[in-house]
Symmetry: C2
Amino acid sequence: MNGADILQAHIAKMVALTPEQHAAIFDRFTPLSLKKGQSLIHEGDRVDSEYFVLEGCLKSYFVNDEAKMFILQFAMPTWWASDYQALYSGQRATITVDCITNAEVLKLSNADREALCAAIPAVAHFFRWRTNRGYVALQKRLLSFMNNDVKIRYEELLQQYPELYNLVPKQLIAAYLGVSRETLSRLYHP
Amino acid sequence: MNGADILQAHIAKMVALTPEQHAAIFDRFTPLSLKKGQSLIHEGDRVDSEYFVLEGCLKSYFVNDEAKMFILQFAMPTWWASDYQALYSGQRATITVDCITNAEVLKLSNADREALCAAIPAVAHFFRWRTNRGYVALQKRLLSFMNNDVKIRYEELLQQYPELYNLVPKQLIAAYLGVSRETLSRLYHP
DNA sequence: GTGATTGTGTGACCTGGGTCACATTCGGGG
DNA sequence: CCCCGAATGTGACCCAGGTCACACAATCAC
């Protein structure tokens, strides 16, 4: 399946659009091919776009002053990634987005998104829905953080995204779970 | 300032609307007066509305199987509250929303929100923006959770919402910070 | 007022997870 | 095929924060 089809299928799950509309939408996106390790957004950048993942896996993360990394999101195919704080507010990026594997993404600028939302109400609806879902998912993650210990959070994560297990280094999974790599390692090597 | 004015000012901060449109919007909301302790959404309920706070303070929280409470949000005036997971998915509520103090709120049903969004594109824009803000704020909270210890999180919270200090019991603040009340108490009584 | 909640301080003790240090294994480039 | 850096396992030790238990307010109902 090519990029246009993947994007179309993704949007069509939520709102009904004509082929012409899908074409008009796709037209606003810029395809990018990325190599493992390449970064899309770097701390301090101006951010004017978000990215829709077609293939591969990205991570978005924050690095604190002790150089410790905290992963906000692993972005798998059909997920979106950006520094939304920076994108929406115009401030400089505080988080970094880069590639865990080679990846294919579609880039959409803030301006193009807004143009699409203004032109096609169903697209505005789609993006509203998308952020709603993201919000709810984030709330769930926060609750799990407060409620459960590492082991349970790890198992939840693997249950939801089994691919991650052999796709990303355990260190990164630890950084997502908010624990040290040693602790994660000890979970199953007591 | 009455409810209509508060709501209007809140929306006008983000999108420009005519007085007629503001009136049409307000028309969809139902004012409710609530007593301290009264609950708007209870675990297991069907949820078909969200609430805009005019006055007072609500909390939304999850209670785990050991009866431990985790507060997702203190909803102060001009904040919105609901069980969004339940509201958007149609599933039954897993979280509870109730009043920490007497409160005045405006109730808006899912159906009315969607009707407004469909009728007035700027309203769709407003709600998209609102959730975007919420998403970013939640990300920030999650990061702070992974990054900082209780003391720092507590100070961040008080700096952002100084009113909370004498408005809500320390127990609840502890439940928001994700620590025991004893730990919170010991922070400043060593 | 008085008795019953509901909130808060505090001591004693326990434990999940952090940190540091070092050994081991693995994957890919030359 | 061999070497190097990245990723992982593991031991020793430490500490923030949890739990339990009990003492004191403060607030409310009547």
